[in-house]
Amino acid sequence: MTATPIAADAGARRATTGLAVRQIRLGALLLLAVAAGAPAMVAGTYERVTSDPAALAGLGALAGNAAIRTIFGEPIALDEAGGFTVWRLGTVLGAILAVWAVVATTRVTRGEEDHGRWDVLLAGRLPLRQVLFRHLMVIASVPVVAGAAIMVVLLVFGGSDSAGAVVHGAGVALLGLFAAALAALTAQIFSARTAATGTAIAILGAGLLARMAADGVPALGRLRWLSPFGLLEISSAYDRNRVSPLLVLAAATALLYVAVAVVCGRRDVGGGLLPAAAGRRPPPRAARHGGGFRGPPAARAAGRLVRRDRCLLPGHRG
């Protein structure tokens, strides 16, 4: 009651941050366990694989397989535990982190707005943009910690190339940040969570396909520069350790966050930049909880898939 406005605003910011932490902490802890545990396990198998000539030959054949190359990316630096781990896990961990970032972001931003929980929160001292960015900041901390965890595991188990560990850890963190920023933007554009999630997942899926196409068809190699997964790959951890693709990914992520701030200021709370489809009134909130699909057909289809499967994702509360 006696707090100054500045102190009260700071209290409101801390309370909002605490709320965001409460909403994602379980899923985030599970994700971090996977991010740290999986590379440790894979790196731990490296000695066994390389000490067995038959297994080594099998690995060589596997790495040369065009289909495997398309899925896992170009096998480089397989002569080191870190390079082997990055090849085996880089795409998979990146995809898991990106999907978690998208689902968590749309759930705690657009989903909360959609449910009407932000009505009482936004009647408080903090404007929409600050409430939104408090939540995004908490979500963004998860890929950063996940990237740091991967980096530490690779530094310990990955061999002598510490630069490779740093490049790959930073790359995975940036991929997660990019996915969260993308989802935050689609959550400002669409007024339904499913459309926001579906669109972000569809864009990331297209990015993964572009990287796969680039790996499968040499003439399409430049497509990697247009894909966050491709940029992660051409950072060439444990080989050339290139920083420039990561800078491109960082710049794209920063641009997305700027776009989020701009679009968020141009819309009403509860609505998106794009109005609901013409001729269709938004269903009441209670009905929307069951899942109303708005947005482009592709986004709606992807949204349905995500809705069906998201209960399996860490941190999902329905």
Partner: protein, 302 residues
């Protein structure tokens, strides 16, 4: 009249071709309970969202305690809000939610909040996912009434409350008024508005069709008078203010009964009745419900 706490000037909201709120101008002063009446879809919630800065007006503007409603950071220091459909965080307990809302909202009187929790019989130890609609509403009401914000904006706040809790709600509104807080109460429950509001604004299809005190609103409308005469019926046809004269079936004693609508001063009608042998006279004031139906017609008054 006290200081103006809530003000809208030419407030308008358009969604494509639909005008949800059209040129709304009104003021709510300190210590005033203002009823904002209208059927579903009239634009009440849209107006409230503009007052809260959650929706941007297409034209006009609103102020809260003299601060532009769009300046949320400053305006919301003077405001507390209860939404129509209260949604809470399922994993948080009632106590945690009150703590959260106290930290994010305007200042809270903690002693009064405890008193409100008792009065509204709220169990704060349970997680919100176990709360009924009424309990969720009670959490939001306690959080709002416990503030000392000059403006309380309540959007259909009693739709999930039982009659006992409605009584507590009315007591809390009266206490807020005594403390000098102004209450902006959106409702379509006429009895509630009639019981606790000082003034009322009636919204129809986004437009304010009347803005008056409850008493004045009633005087704008016709009173229904039923007369029982034992002698010759009075001649009322040309009496000023008398309309819709209707002869009713006589009573069991054979007395003649008639009914008419009276508007404006009753003196001419009383003079006309004085010449008749009036055995009984029943004057019935229209309910707010009937006044409401006058504005909206039977279909909208469902």
């Amino acid at each position: 009249m006290g200081d103006v706490v809530l003000r809208t000037t030419g407030l308008t909201k358009r969604f494509r071709r639909l005008t949800a709120v059209d040129d709304l101008t009104l003021e709510v002063t300190a210590s005033e309970v203002f009823g904002f009446l209208g059927p579903n879809g009239a634009g009440k919630s849209t107006t409230i969202r503009m007052l809260l800065g959650l929706a941007k007006p297409s034209a006009g503007h609103a102020t809260i305690a003299g601060v532009d409603a769009a300046d949320v950071r400053r305006a919301h220091r003077s405001l507390a809000y209860v939404p129509a459909d209260v949604a809470l965080w399922p994993q948080l307990t009632g106590a945690e939610i009150l703590h959260l809302l106290a930290r994010t909202g305007s200042g809270v009187d903690l002693d009064y909040r405890e008193e409100l929790v008792d009065r509204f019989a709220l169990d704060l130890s349970k997680p919100a996912r176990t709360y009924s609609t009424g309990n969720r509403q009670k959490v939001a009401l306690v959080a709002a009434f416990a503030t000392r914000a000059p403006a309380l904006v309540l959007d259909e706040p009693t739709s999930g409350l039982d009659p006992l809790m409605e009584r507590e709600f009315r007591t809390a509104v009266a206490a807020a008024r005594e403390r000098g807080q102004s209450v902006f109460l959106s409702s379509h429950q006429l009895a509630e508005v009639e019981a606790i509001c000082d003034r009322v604004g009636i919204l129809r299809a986004g437009r304010l069709v009347d803005l008056a005190s409850i008493a004045k609103l009633r005087t704008l409308h016709r009173t229904e008078v039923t007369v029982t005469c034992t002698g010759a019926p009075p001649t009322l046809a040309d009496v000023p203010g008398v309309d819709a004269v209707e002869i009713l079936p006589g009573d069991s004693a054979g007395a003649m009964r008639m009914r008419f609508a009276l508007s404006g001063p009753p003196a001419p009608a009383l003079k006309a009745l004085a010449d008749a042998d009036v055995a009984a006279l029943v004057v019935r004031e229209p309910s707010l419900e009937e006044i409401f139906l006058d504005y909206y017609g039977a279909e909208a008054g469902r």
